[in-house]
Amino acid sequence: MRTVIFRSIAPYLTSLMVLFSIFVLLRGHNLPGGGFIGGLIAASALAIYGIACGVAPVRRAIHFHPMAISAFGLFLGAGAGVLSVFASVPFMTGLWTYPTLFGVELALSSVLVFDIGVYLVVVGAIASIALALEERDRD
């Protein structure tokens, strides 16, 4: 798979896909999309990068071990649920806040934190499997 065309395109394709995955993640609350599908797109972006340029550059690029990324996602997900203890509502209740930044009203919620957690869990878990398989393929 190490053709010149693929190797030169892959980094751009990967960055586009990661950007798109974040877009899908953020639009997911009321429109089709969300953490899970966004995570899948990001994980396939990493897989493409790995196929084109080898696994070591991917591991360098994401800096953290994929399992640590997915653990952080799990932490965010569970933490978003625990936030509701401060509002004395049941676990996992969506909490909303509407700060105004630069004149734009921004809807932030614990649901978003949870969704980012799902995104990271999926990215970490799938990337961990994909990278392990690609590594095995090489030797």
Binding site: H29, N30, H65, M67, A68, S70, A71, F72, G73, L74, F75, G77, A78, G79, G81, V82, V85, S88, V89, P90, F91, M92, T93, G94, W96, Y98, A107, S109
Partner: protein, 529 residues
């Protein structure tokens, strides 16, 4: 975006509007704690020194939480929290009755013991593989399964504990472990698939997955819906999880391969989650269908206990023998399920709690024995009594407990079950329990006589044993001894002073037979109808 709810006047049609009392947070706190600490440990996987320092205090907090939850439930009756504030049956409820709280508390104490024991049993490479994160995550699954009040959510927690158990099973990736792991994974996936099919079928019939809702609607649907098929599917799926005959073969094939503390944890907790699900779904939700199936369950129970112990009698590897004893104990609990009377259920519940503690402790005792210079193979073992009389004595206590002799914790539930089966004239079931007790005594007596009482060096292959790894006489780590003694103390306390446990299991059994408190806790308005 549409988060503002200005257009909706009356939130109480969709939301639980009462604020949550602080004590009710105990319902969800154990699971949240396990997930949070498990994920932190996973992030710190490389720091093997720090792992037990975080995990063991967290397991202590977990035990405190579940004991607090048990106290809360006993003081205030069944409690419910519905996730995300949505009104049940649309939100997923966690409903904790005495049965859930009792099992959650017992299992978290067992997990604490396993965490302490694991400090010495799991080396640094095992910790890098993630023993402690998996331990916390498997506890999230086990406790979630005990606490949830939703059938699909129960399935999810089964998956959580199953995935963590795969990780624990192949810790170290040795050949035998992978072999055992494949058998375990495949047969458990079959069981999980059956469970999922049954859950889909249940949803198709009832249009709800909330257990309290199902308990209410079952009587209306009984005339028209094919509930028998549904319940038989659930029985098969959960019996497979619980390792009941004839679907028990995955357990003896895999439980002797992983690290000892992992075997101990699995033997203590995993099959009991299957028993819990059987009690909850068959015992509480579908009592009429359970009654119809009770003869089949009773036969499966009798065969499980007798064939299980006969399997144990035939083994040369002590760990394999213990695996078969776990199966045999499942048969005793199934007998309680088959009886279906208050005495039967409470006997099964008491026995399940006893089995969680004692089976784990037995694996610990055998593991400490091996680290003192014993051997897993009976033909080569010997001389442990001479090396450490205290350990031999404690192990003998556990052996007597598992065979159901007084004054240890295995005695009382067996008495209850024998009496309950004689009460309804099922003499053959009572006979099966008693014969199992006798055979278990012979099995454990054989192990004790060969591995402990027999002087070292008289074994058939003692010359070979001299060079085998692990046969060098070492000293047992203090943490492992403490974990063992803690569990033995629980077993002895429940045997000598069974009254609180008896009352608790009778309470739990009452909650299963008459689910009105359970339903009322989820649907406070239902009382008027």
């Amino acid at each position: 975006m549409a988060g503002k709810t200005a257009g909706l006047e009356d939130l109480s049609v969709a939301y639980v509007t009462e604020p949550v009392a602080a004590a009710d947070w105990l319902i969800v706190a154990p699971v949240a704690l396990c997930l949070l600490v498990g994920s932190v440990l996973l992030m710190l996987r490389k720091d093997t020194r720090l792992q037990p320092l975080i995990a063991i205090p967290a397991l202590m907090v977990l035990s405190a939480m579940t004991l607090g939850l048990l106290w809360h439930v006993l003081a205030n009756g069944t409690v419910t929290m519905t996730m995300g504030r949505w009104l049940p049956p649309f939100g997923i409820s966690f409903t904790v009755d005495p049965l859930s709280a009792f099992f959650a508390a017992t299992s978290s104490l067992v997990a604490l013991a396993a965490g302490v024991y694991g400090r010495s049993d799991i080396d640094h490479s095992g910790r890098r593989y993630g023993f402690y994160p998996f331990l916390l995550l498997i506890m999230a699954g086990v406790i979630g399964a005990f606490l949830t009040g939703d059938v699909f959510n129960l399935y999810v927690w089964f998956e959580v504990l199953l995935i963590s158990s795969f990780g624990l099973l192949v810790l170290g990736s040795e050949r035998g472990q992978l072999d055992g792991g494949v058998k375990y994974a495949f047969l458990n996936l079959v069981a999980t698939t059956l469970f999922l099919i049954a859950t889909g079928y249940l949803y198709g019939l009832f249009g709800t997955l909330n257990m309290a809702d199902i308990a209410v609607k079952a009587s209306e649907l009984r005339g028209t819906a094919p509930l028998m098929t549904l319940v038989t599917l659930f029985l098969l799926a959960f019996a497979m999880k619980a390792a009941a005959f004839p679907v028990n073969f995955w357990l003896p094939a895999s439980y002797h391969t992983p690290r000892l503390v992992v075997s101990a944890l699995f033997a203590g907790l995993l099959t009991k989650v299957g028993i819990y699900a059987l009690l909850r779904v068959l015992g509480m939700l579908f009592p009429i269908e359970r009654e119809e199936l009770s003869f089949i369950i009773a036969i499966a129970a009798a065969l499980t206990m007798v064939l299980g112990v006969m399997g144990a009698l035939a083994q040369n590897d002590i760990r394999r023998a213990l695996g078969f004893l776990v199966v045999s104990g499942i048969g005793v609990m199934m007998a309680g399920l088959a009886l279906g009377s208050p005495a039967g259920f409470s006997g099964a519940i008491f026995y399940a709690a006893h089995s969680m503690v004692v089976m784990t402790a037995l694996y610990f005792a055998i593991g400490i024995g091996v680290s003192l210079g014993g051997n897993f193979r009976l033909s080569e073992a010997g001389g442990l009594y001479a090396r450490n009389a205290m350990l031999a004595f404690v192990t003998l206590m556990l052996f007597l407990s598992v065979s159901g002799l007084p004054p240890f914790s295995g005695f009382w539930p067996k008495v209850m079950l024998v009496k309950a089966s004689l009460d309804i004239g099922a003499w053959w079931l009572a006979a099966a329990i008693l014969v199992t007790g006798l055979l278990t005594t012979i099995t454990v007596g054989r192990i004790w006589a060969l591995a402990y009482w027999r002087p070292a060096g008289e074994g058939a292959a003692s010359a070979a044993a001299g060079s085998a790894p692990g046969s060098a006489a070492g000293s047992a780590p203090a943490g492992a001894i403490a974990a063992l003694f803690g569990l033995v103390a629980l077993s002895v306390a429940a045997g000598v002073w069974p009254e609180p446990v008896l009352v608790l299991s009778q309470d739990a059994a009452r909650g299963l037979i008459d689910p009105s408190a359970y339903v009322l806790s989820v649907f406070p308005g239902e009382a008027a109808q």
